[in-house]
Amino acid sequence: MSEREIWITGIGIVSCLGEGADAHWQGLSDGTPKGEVGAFAPYVVHNLRPLDFDKQIPKKGDQRQMEAWQRIGTYAAGLALEGAGIKGNAEFLSHTDMIVAAGGGERDANVDIGVVGGVSKAGNNPEPFVNERLMNDLRPTLFLAQLSNLLAGNISIVHGVTGSSRTFMGEEAAGVDAVRIAHARIAAGQSDLALVGGAYNAERWEVQLHYAMGKVLIKDKPAAVWRRDGMSLGTIGAFLVLEERTHAEKRGAKPLARLTAVASDYARRAPGAVTATLEKLYAPIAAKVDAKSAAIISGASGVAPFTAEERAFLEKLELAVRATGTHLGHGLEPQFPVNIALAAAAVSKGQLFPPCDPSGFERPMDAPLRQAVVTSVGHWRGEGLALVEAVA
């Protein structure tokens, strides 16, 4: 394997904490769990802090062709390209390889309820009724908003990213594998420059319904990840620009951090499986981690059995830990990319943000931060680890 070094040269993040690294630093530092019980009561949702979409998606026509998750992702992708200094630069965008981690299926709740309500009155043969309503009520643009790959499509259209375009699905695992494969392609010389990330809109009834069926949502009030059983969904957009070092140097780009390892696996979730998988993923990077200057940025969801196994594993590492889900909520596909972005911002600053955990598991870290291990243990599937390091 070649020794090509991979730099993170741009990050674009939006969430309930606002947009960009500084807003996130402030939000992560104020010591209180976020999330609201509002429109989706009793569920706790981390609503996006309002954005001026015009700043990254100048054409109103483009905005109208998207649903919220696509606008959020396209916006975050624009921030990342801007941060890397390649926004609008066709020379670089034409060989930028894109991997997007996406869900999809953003629905019109009124149509759903109208149809479901009508069916109960439509007698024994409801199908023609459903057909008629859908023919009249579905909008073509909504279909395009439901296609998972249309976030990538919109990024191509709005930002001109055309090197290649792939969309991975599968909740947290999609985000982990998107970063892993983008990283592996650069490391192997199959690519020099990549845009990778995803977006999730938590402010939707149909996703509350889905996770309510799994009984994995907390209710009534926000709670820190290590203190809860369940997750609170969070709206998140997160993109990274990954770049081979000499490619970045040649164009004079400054790195935020190095991404030195990314790995994923599939724990078939029997008791102990998460622990065994984390041990297996951590083993190859263990020797690289310097306990004096490293911390853990955890993507734990808060779903008790899996988060408990992750916690027990992390306790043994004796490093300062931060679970960002306490602040951002759980955003599934972009969870791993956002945590890599936050890790890059922290090592770039040389400092870890304060704990936010009444259980006392998260402890302060005063030493300069040079390394961050980013974890993913999905709420159901999706295990991954990454090592983000300061540029020497």
């Binding site: 062709q65 999809g104 299926g105 629905r107 759903d112 309820i113 309500g117 069916v119 109960s120 409801p126 199908e127 023609p128 459903v130 057909n131 008629e132 859908l134 023919m135 579905l138 909008r139 073509p140 279909f143 395009l144 439901q146 790959n149 249309l150 990538a152 499509g153 191509s156 259209i157 990213v161 055309t162 290649s164 375009s165 792939r166 969309t167 991975f168 699905m169 599968g170 909740e171 695992a173 999609a174 594998d177 892993r180 494969i181 592996a184 009834w205 149909e206 509350q208 319904l209 889905h210 309510a212 069926m213 799994g214 009984k215 994923s264 696996d265 159901w380 599937r381 999706g382 991954g384």
Partner: protein, 424 residues
């Protein structure tokens, strides 16, 4: 020599499997495909009252219990194709495939039947989403929760075949199946693995999916007779026909295949890609991104355009696709474009959407294997603006050494694959 022109491991195919509306398995499919049979039929799975399109290439011969939903059928089709591919390859052992899974699958969504069941359980007369979530909280619907996660199909396929690592579910719309192959090729070229299982599957013909495509005016409404609806490159083509199916391929490094004495069925010589930034559902009017995509695939394969003997086109039968595809083929192949045979499998099996790239890779390999070109059926009214050799209506023998297969999708997704008969 197990390296290609760029010093990378050569990637070969040692097993493949396929299911379409024509039947299960490559033997049956190839027989019908080369006989010019159509798998398109009237939809019986759901009521089509009030719909403009009433036909599809549904796979109706696979029993699903208790009721068909897209992820359940997609999973079943992927299992069938995967089982056939792995058996032919003889790789690994039962439930222990020695490499990763790349699965092209339609985006998963809770469907009307589930929504209605939950609504019923809520007991509410004027139901709201709040009522639905309250019913959901009883835990009675945990099965729906798992089934309708985006990763659920890939998880279960990974469990069945014992693939290694995190199973990758992917979507590049109508190019998905080709992207799955491409990801497998890249993983083997990186030296991450000696083998990969690449599957494209789609079992998503349901009322809402059909209506969505219909609202985009993408579907043929030539319902009668169903078998004549899909007519790629014809002047009277009026849209694609939705269809179901799965294609599966066992990819392996040549070195690994030779070491275990496996029969080599073909070579994935090159993969090309170029995203189109023009429009969400239409391709750039100059055809540059699709032409660039084809050129990238040829360059990746280390071949010149004149070394391609046959094109397995995307060929959907929409007015737009076929026109644009012919333009990009002309751009790349020049005068020769008019004489390279180019026949669309979709004239017979319809558009298998997320599966199409994988299904058509299998058919391209069968074309190489049998040295016979399946036809473009329903070619009764040639489009004078597309003067190509579409292998009209009847299959024929031909010498085929290298095949180009195109897959172009909504969202500007373009992937081309180049396949060869034998390692060079």
């Amino acid at each position: 020599m197990a390296k290609d022109h760029s010093g990378r491991p050569i990637v070969v195919v040692t097993g493949y499997g396929v299911v379409t509306s024509l039947g299960a398995g490559k033997e049956d499919n190839w027989k019908k495909l080369t006989a010019g049979q159509s798998g398109i039929r009237e939809i019986t799975r759901f009521a089509t009252d009030g719909l403009k399109t009433k036909i599809a290439g549904t796979v109706d011969f696979v029993p699903i219990d208790p009721a068909i939903n897209a992820p359940e059928l997609s999973q079943r089709l992927a299992e069938m194709a995967g089982t056939e591919a792995i058996a032919q390859s003889g790789i690994g052992s039962a439930g222990n495939f020695p490499g990763p899974l790349f699965l092209a699958v339609a985006p998963v969504e809770i469907e009307w039947q589930q929504r209605q069941e939950i609504a019923k359980a809520s007991g509410a007369s004027e139901v709201s989403y709040n009522d639905l979530t309250r019913a959901a909280e009883t835990g009675k619907f945990h099965g729906f929760y798992e089934r309708f996660l985006f990763g659920s199909v890939a998880d279960r396929i990974a469990d069945k075949f014992g693939t290694k690592g995190s199973p990758v579910s992917l979507s590049t719309a109508c190019a998905s199946g080709a992207t799955a192959v491409q990801l497998g090729v890249e993983a083997i070229r990186r030296g991450e693995t000696d083998a990969a299982l690449c599957i494209g599957t789609d079992g998503s013909v349901n009322a809402e999916s059909l209506i969505r495509f219909s609202l985009l005016s993408a579907l043929s409404t030539a319902n009668d007779p169903p078998q004549s609806a899909s007519k790629p490159f014809s002047k009277n083509r009026d849209g694609f026909v939705m269809a179901e199916g799965a294609g599966a391929l066992v990819l392996e490094s040549l070195e690994s295949a030779q070491a275990r004495g496996a029969r080599i069925l073909g070579v994935i010589e090159g993969c090309g890609e170029m995203a189109d930034s023009f429009h969400r559902t239409r391709s750039s009017p100059d055809g540059k991104p699709t032409a660039g995509c084809i050129r990238h695939a040829l360059a990746d394969a280390g071949l010149e355009p004149d070394q391609i003997d046959y094109i397995n086109p995307h060929g959907t039968s929409t007015p737009e696709n076929d026109k644009m595809e012919c333009l990009s083929v002309s751009n790349v192949f020049g005068e020769r474009a008019k004489t390279i045979p180019m026949s669309s499998n979709k004239s017979m099996i319809g558009h298998t959407l997320s599966a199409a790239g994988a299904v058509e890779t299998v058919f391209s390999l069968l074309t190489l294997e049998h040295q016979r070109l399946p036809p473009t059926i329903n070619y009764q009214v040639p489009d004078p603006t597309l003067p190509f050799d579409v292998v009209p209506n009847v299959a024929r023998d031909a010498r085929v050494t290298h095949v180009l297969s195109n897959s172009f999708g909504f969202g500007g997704q373009n992937v081309s694959l180049v396949m060869g008969r034998e390692p060079r």
